[in-house]
């Protein structure tokens, strides 16, 4: 039925997807024409990524809908990765999946048969074909260059070239770009956007998933907005402004009423940050009052994680001043941060915080093993006793105290990691996505412990992509965009408010 419309190459009709407990997509439709860039927008949890995953065959849709690619229709519960690939759907994910050690040409051909001559790889033809695909993107990246030396935008172009190359010779391919500009620095974004525009002008159909409204407005022809699993709008971009889009994404009419600055709390700030710069963080200033939990919201790439790293000393700062309880802190290393009274629970537990093959006592004392180093020997027994007491207090479940941390659930691992900082005299607790991969019960326990930790005049900064959680747990929320604080609100914070500020704030990113 959808094939009747000329130029339409991708048509999703009546697509629903139910996960146990939630309906991620409800009767969603999406129509993409040949030669257009079609933006797909939506806040966290809107169903955007679910839609992409159904298209890719990663998730199976509920029965009842259809997906049509260039006239080939399939039931929504019958999409497989093989079908998606055959039908001409090409995906470039945020993690580009490139090989640093290989050349550009080899990356373009990765996973595809190389041209051969007499049984051997025909390198000349390989390079020529790679150059042809890259040429369509009008980039002058030489095919023989090692990938490792490429600029971020060029890397993305290589990933796109690979996706295009897969569909070469097929007139019906649809290119899905998932947040392609998220890892790019501002000046690189234009390079990519131009290439995307040119591809569309040359007849390619492109689904462009992004958080960046300015990009969406500048590069796309039409836009589909999802909210809470529903398609809430499909609009042509011509004549559209950011305010309308934010309205679509958040769902309420737009009121640009900025709240008054909250009244200053009593007492000297525990943490005082002025003009902090480094990496994607451009200029951040704020004060943290005793007993306060400050939430930090923002989209991917807004500088949230970097801000915590800068404060802890895990990343060198380019400028700015940080004071802890009035004293200027030199933050050249995590040691400096700890000495100043800061504690950092990083986002990626396995990579950055857990000693997975060591036991609970070792993990709990990791931030201060010296306390057990008394009189020329390490007091293992006292360490175990303390660990047992803390495990009880935090309701940590483990096969045994000595069991390697690997054997604990994510929530229990996180409680162990948190405990190592609660033991110290911590003034400011920096938490990066502390409840990621953590079960509900542990989540509650973690927040209870954070509250308890700040009760004596310490403070905490909480970074979370779950804006709902952010709104509930924090006393005050700052929203970051493009490395700056773009909004602040104390009390009465809602998920929608954070989402709106995060989108609106990114306007002047470049």
């Amino acid at each position: 039925m959808s094939t009747a419309l000329p130029g339409r190459v991708l048509a999703v009709e009546g697509l629903s997807k139910t996960f146990p407990g939630t309906r991620a997509l409800v009767d969603v439709s999406l129509h993409v024409r040949r030669g257009e860039v079609h933006a797909l927008l939506g806040g966290n949890g809107s169903g955007k990524s679910t839609l992409i995953k159904v298209l890719a065959g990663v998730h199976r849709g509920d029965p009842g809908g259809t997906i049509d690619v260039a006239g080939e229709t399939v039931a929504s519960d019958a999409v497989t990765p093989a079908w998606a690939s055959r039908a001409g759907l090409r995906f470039v994910h945020q993690d580009l999946g490139l090989f640093d050690a290989l050349s550009v040409a080899e990356n373009v051909f990765a996973g595809r048969p190389y041209p051969r001559r007499r049984g051997r790889i025909d390198w000349r033809r390989t390079r020529r074909q790679a150059a042809e695909v890259l040429g369509r993107l009008e980039t002058d990246v030489a095919p023989e260059r090692p990938l490792a030396g490429l600029r971020p935008a060029e890397r993305t172009l290589v990933a796109i070239a690979r996706a295009l190359h897969c569909g070469e010779g097929e007139e019906r391919s649809v290119l899905v770009l998932d947040e392609p500009t998220a890892p790019l620095p501002g000046h690189e974004v234009d390079v990519l956007l131009e290439a995307v525009r040119r591809l569309a002008d040359a007849g390619e159909a492109i689904v462009y998933v992004s958080h960046r409204l300015d990009e969406v407005l500048s590069v796309s022809d039409r836009v589909t907005v999802l909210r809470d699993g529903h398609r809430v709008a499909e609009r042509p971009v011509a004549g559209l402004d950011e305010a309308t889009l934010v309205g679509d994404i958040v769902g309420a009419s737009l009121d640009r009423v900025y709240p008054e600055m909250p009244p200053p709390r009593l007492g000297e700030p525990v943490l005082s940050v002025r003009g902090l710069r480094g990496g994607p963080v451009r200029d951040v200033s704020f004060d943290l009052a005793p007993g306060e939990v400050l939430g930090i919201g923002g989209l991917v790439g807004s500088g949230r994680t970097t801000l915590l790293e800068l404060l802890f000393g895990a990343r060198p700062r380019d400028g700015g001043e940080v004071r802890v309880e009035g004293r200027a802190a030199t933050l050249g290393s995590p040691r400096d941060g700890m000495r100043a009274g800061l504690a950092y629970v990083p986002e990626d537990r396995a990579r950055d915080s857990a000693f997975l093959d060591l036991g609970i006592p070792e993990n709990m004392s990791a931030a201060d093993p010296a306390r057990y180093w008394r009189g020329g020997r390490f007091r293992h027994r006292r360490e175990r006793e303390d660990a047992r007491a803390d495990a009880e207090a935090l309701d940590i479940r483990a096969p045994s105290l000595a069991a390697p941390l690997l054997q604990l659930s994510g929530g229990n691992q996180q409680k162990v990691v948190l405990d190592r900082w609660l033991r110290r005299r911590t003034r400011v607790l920096l938490l990066d996505e502390p409840t990621q991969g953590v079960d509900i019960a542990s989540r509650a326990e973690i927040y209870q412990q954070v509250r308890r930790a700040v009760a004596d005049g310490a403070a905490a900064i909480l970074v979370s992509s779950d804006f709902e959680e952010l709104a509930h747990v924090s006393d005050r929320v700052l929203v970051l965009a493009g490395g700056r604080v773009v909004a602040e609100r104390e009390g009465d914070v809602t998920r929608d408010w954070v989402t709106r500020q995060a989108y609106e704030g990114q306007g002047d990113r470049r």
Partner: protein, 351 residues
């Protein structure tokens, strides 16, 4: 609040302090505990079996379990034992040091040559250890601060040191001038046990203490477990890594001095062969006592295992090829096993 606390403590009691209850709840049965025990003492048991076999085997029963033979093995293996302890330290930090043998050879030449030039024994030992320390510091600095791959860079320093030794000695064995005190120490017994074995015991205790009972040891193990996490809890990761190479080189230096004590000469041909023997013993050791992790008793057992099996086979008149085939097979099996066990425990692979 108290009720939650009490409930929590009840659960912990059940989970943490009573393994039996925990087992019931989480699944693993008694057999898995037995399996753990078997893992832990497999190499020890195997060593015991080996001793019994050689003690009763007609070809070896007369000589194998004699005091003279045991003393001989213990004394001969002292050098490898100390070298294996040396190799273990960087391995615990997740790094390879394949210059152990070369440093051992260099220290040997340094101590012998210094004595040949009239330097007194203590001075000569100091010179040898200082040379070793320099190489260890260079290795450690390159690995820790420049981030060079430890296997490759220590291969480079090993080659370089070997070349310098050759240049210095013109490949001539240093036969003269070795202090008689040192030679006496190398061949004498104390309380019926070779003096060098006492020294090995002392070194092993010191290393075990350093790794297991000091703050620095804990830090070393943490760095080996997860260097990024160690940095983010404020540990001086680079310094710890550098120190592990310095300690390894110092121990290799001691092993070199022991070698001179045993042979009474400084032989420029000796060196690199010890690297493989030392690493083998350390890896064998990681398969026992604390499976999946390098540990001192395990390493010593690893050395003893290889030593006694080779000794028994030699006494039995086995052909030359039997010994390397046996040792190679044992190492292969043990390392494969300990890798699998280590992975199950969440250890990162060494390379």
């Amino acid at each position: 609040m108290t009720t939650i606390g009490e409930r929590a403590s009840d659960m912990i009691e059940a989970r943490v302090t009573e393994p039996a209850a925990a087992k019931r709840a989480t699944g693993p049965s008694r057999s898995s505990a037995l399996l753990g025990l078997a893992e832990r003492y497999a190499l020890v048991a195997f060593l015991g079996v080996l001793l019994i076999v050689f003690a009763v085997l007609p070809a070896t029963s007369e000589t194998f379990l004699t005091a003279a033979n045991l003393r001989n093995v213990a004394a001969n293996e002292s050098v490898i034992a100390v070298a294996a302890l040396a190799a273990m330290v960087p391995l615990l930090a997740g790094q390879f040091d394949v210059s152990i043998g070369a440093v051992l050879g260099m220290a040997q030449i340094a101590v012998a040559s210094a004595m040949a030039h009239g330097v007194p024994l203590t001075g000569a030992i100091a010179i040898a250890l200082a040379c070793a320390l320099v190489v260890g510091a260079v290795n450690g600095w390159l690995v820790a601060y420049l981030g060079v791959n430890s296997f490759i860079i220590t291969l480079a320093t090993a080659t370089l040191v070997g070349g310098l030794v050759s240049l210095y000695t013109h490949d001539q064995v240093i036969l003269q001038g070795v202090s008689q005190h040192l030679v006496d120490f190398g061949s004498g017994n104390l309380l019926g046990v070779p003096r060098v074995t006492w020294l090995v015991a002392l070194v092993a205790l010191l290393v075990a203490y350093g790794l297991g009972w000091t703050l620095q040891g804990r830090r070393l193990v943490s760095v080996g477990s997860n260097a990024r996490a160690a940095r983010l809890v404020g540990m001086p990761v680079n310094r710890i890594m550098l120190a592990s190479f310095v300690v390894a080189a110092l121990l290799a230096g001691i092993a070199g001095v022991l070698q001179v004590a045993r042979t009474g000469t400084g032989n420029p041909q000796i060196g690199n062969a010890y690297t493989l023997a030392a690493l083998s013993a350390a890896f064998l050791g990681a398969s026992t006592i604390r499976p999946g992790r390098f540990n001192v008793p395990g390493t010593i057992i690893g050395v003893a295992f290889v030593a006694f099996s080779v000794n028994g086979l030699t006494l039995a008149g086995a052909a030359d090829w039997v010994d390397p085939v046996f040792t190679g097979t044992a190492l292969g099996v043990a390392v494969a096993l300990s890798t699998v066990l280590g992975r199950r425990r969440g250890a990162q692979r060494v390379i």
